[in-house]
């Protein structure tokens, strides 16, 4: 798995009522297998809606979602089967915790998948390790944790399901820089361990995208603005501005310095430092 393709997908909330709201319009893209694709866009552009549709929690109002070439909604009864292969971490997933201990809560997903107790234990512990939930936390009640710890526990709950495709909706929103790096880094480490699983990472932080995403999908008001590699997007400040986003400061500086021969679309400070030093040495 899992080649995911959106074909002219449209989605309208509360269709045919006065509260009708068209969240996605004629959206088409394909997620490249084995890559981290970032989904970026301004608040309310429909990012979370894409995640929900991808997991088969709602049915697109128009168009199709193909997974491995098969329509997700071909047999509505089978959607649950496909959902088991996709791990979706919701935006602010803390509220989904409910068990007595964090360990049991992380085990909820794998248990629903019908894994054996031994497998569950291994899955829970390895998932907890990747996102930095220590042994002491595992024994605690999820309601005694801090916000950031709860977020980690919730993400571990999805990683433990060992999904073939991982969808993360703003996994680091509202965390301190260290927490952001820990969580995103942990997810990437997990992905590498699992032979480069496909990941869809939703965020509006271009800094995070610079570090973690291979490809980017840029949405604007429910429509596709651009789909390409992260580098390509970082070379197009006009596009990023149109989407209501901002490039990282370092990219803006180096893009302005392109007269000095620094290539456009620098993503990180380290990369910028190398390029600038090269110019200074010569």
């Amino acid at each position: 798995m899992s080649v995911v393709t959106f074909e002219h997908v449209g989605y309208t909330y509360s269709a045919k009522t006065p509260f009708e709201h068209e969240a996605l319009k004629d959206l088409s893209f394909t997620l490249q297998e084995g890559r981290v694709t970032g989904l970026v866009g301004h608040t309310g552009c429909g990012k979370s809606t894409v995640a929900m549709l991808l997991d088969g929690l709602e049915r697109p109002t128009s168009g199709r979602i193909l997974i491995d070439g098969r329509d997700l909604w071909e047999e509505p009864k089978k959607v649950r089967e496909i959902r088991r292969r996709i791990g979706l971490v919701f935006q602010y997933p803390e509220y989904q915790l409910f068990e007595e201990t964090v360990e049991k809560d992380i085990a909820f997903g794998p248990r629903n998948l019908g894994k054996s107790e031994d497998e569950i234990r291994t899955l829970v512990h390895s998932a907890a390790q990747f996102v930095g939930v220590g042994e002491d936390l595992l024994k605690k009640s999820p309601f005694e944790l801090s916000g950031g710890e709860r977020r980690r526990a919730a993400i571990a709950g999805v990683l433990a399901m060992d999904p073939e495709l991982l969808v993360l909706d703003e996994p680091a929103a509202g965390l301190d820089p260290r927490g952001r790096a820990d969580i995103l880094g942990g997810v990437c480490a997990y992905r590498r361990e699992k032979q480069n699983r496909t990941v869809l990472l939703i965020s509006h932080s271009m800094e995070d995208m610079a570090r973690f995403a291979d490809d980017l999908i840029v949405l604007k008001e429910g429509e596709l603005l651009f789909h390409g590699t992260t580098k390509e997007v970082f070379c197009r400040p006009d596009l990023v501005r149109e989407a209501g986003l901002a490039l990282p400061q370092i990219t803006r500086i180096t893009n302005a310095l392109c007269d000095l021969g620094i290539p456009e679309g620098i993503t990180t400070t380290e990369e910028a430092a190398i390029e600038i030093l090269k110019r200074l040495d010569s």
């Binding site: 997991d55 919701f90 509220y95 909820f108």
Partner: protein, 277 residues
């Protein structure tokens, strides 16, 4: 599933019915309910249904939404109609008779009337009140109407505030439930299959987070209200004062006149043989 909860939901609009003073609408609704129970002749019912249709048309709410709002009562209405159909004994010979079932013409009449009564009750109250009045307006109006009860020690303002808060959080809770259900579904939870016990058990992962977030929300709200110096109803002024306008008075008077007419015409129609029961 949860999206179908339209009962008691406000649909924004600009119709005359939306703009009517909420107090006039509450009184009108009470009058309407009384009328539905007093109307016992065909002509009276026809007049009432005509009034209902006019109200629906004026409200500008689509027929589809009105019918959708009936979903929760369909079962009760059908049940009542069926009970009436089989259990009403008439004076003449039964129309159908086999085994223990006897259906009389009177049974058919009362079944139809029961059905009409329940449906017109629900449609009327929702169109006149809940679909066209914001919950805030509704509680404001109730508070104003019940104000006299303060003198006998009823904490009217506190009740109104409790109701406002409860109504305000119904859609939020529905949305939250949907969100939590989705999150648990994404973790492989199954709410649709299995026997009753399994299904009830499968709701635990939804109910616990829901309770916890409700308590937290209640706490937050209480703190937020205190921070803004809320201390109950004493000496509180309102931002939006309700003012009865000419149109509101006209609506009430014409509705009342219609009711009086309907009430006094009943004996007259009855004497002409239109009476039921």
């Amino acid at each position: 599933m949860l999206k179908d909860v339209t009962l008691g939901q406000y649909f924004p609009g600009q119709s005359p019915l939306h703009r009517l003073d909420p107090r006039a609408k509450i009184l009108g609704t009470i009058l309407y309910i009384v009328l539905v129970f007093f109307a016992r002749s065909f002509p009276a019912y026809a007049a009432l249904l005509a009034a209902l249709i006019v109200l629906c048309a004026v409200s500008g709410i689509s027929l589809k939404l009105i019918l959708k709002g009936l979903k929760p009562v369909v079962f009760i209405a059908a049940f009542t109609a069926i009970v009436n159909l089989f259990w009403t004994a008439g004076e003449g010979a039964p129309l159908v008779e086999f085994w223990i079932v006897r259906i009389y013409p009177e049974g058919i009449y009362s079944a139809i009337f029961m059905l009409l009564r329940i449906l017109s009750l629900v449609i009327g109250t929702s169109v006149l009140l809940t679909y066209t009045t914001t919950p805030m307006d509704l509680t404001d109006a109730l508070e104003r109407l019940l104000k006299p009860l303060k003198f006998i020690g009823v904490p009217v303002h506190e009740f109104a505030m409790m109701m406002t808060i409860a109504l305000r959080f119904v859609p939020t809770l529905v949305e939250e439930t949907q969100k939590i259900m989705n999150a648990q579904k994404a973790r492989g939870a199954d709410f649709e299959s299995g026997n009753l016990i399994r299904r009830v058990k499968s709701l635990i992962p939804v109910l616990i987070p829901l309770f916890i977030s409700s308590f937290r929300r209640a706490d937050d709200l209480a703190i937020a209200m205190e921070c803004r110096c809320y201390h109950g109803g004493k000496g509180r002024t309102r931002m939006k004062e309700l003012h009865l306008r000419f149109g509101d008075v006209l609506f009430l008077f014409s509705f009342a006149a219609f009711g009086v007419l309907l009430y006094f015409s009943t004996p007259f129609f009855a004497s002409m043989g239109f009476y039921i029961k």
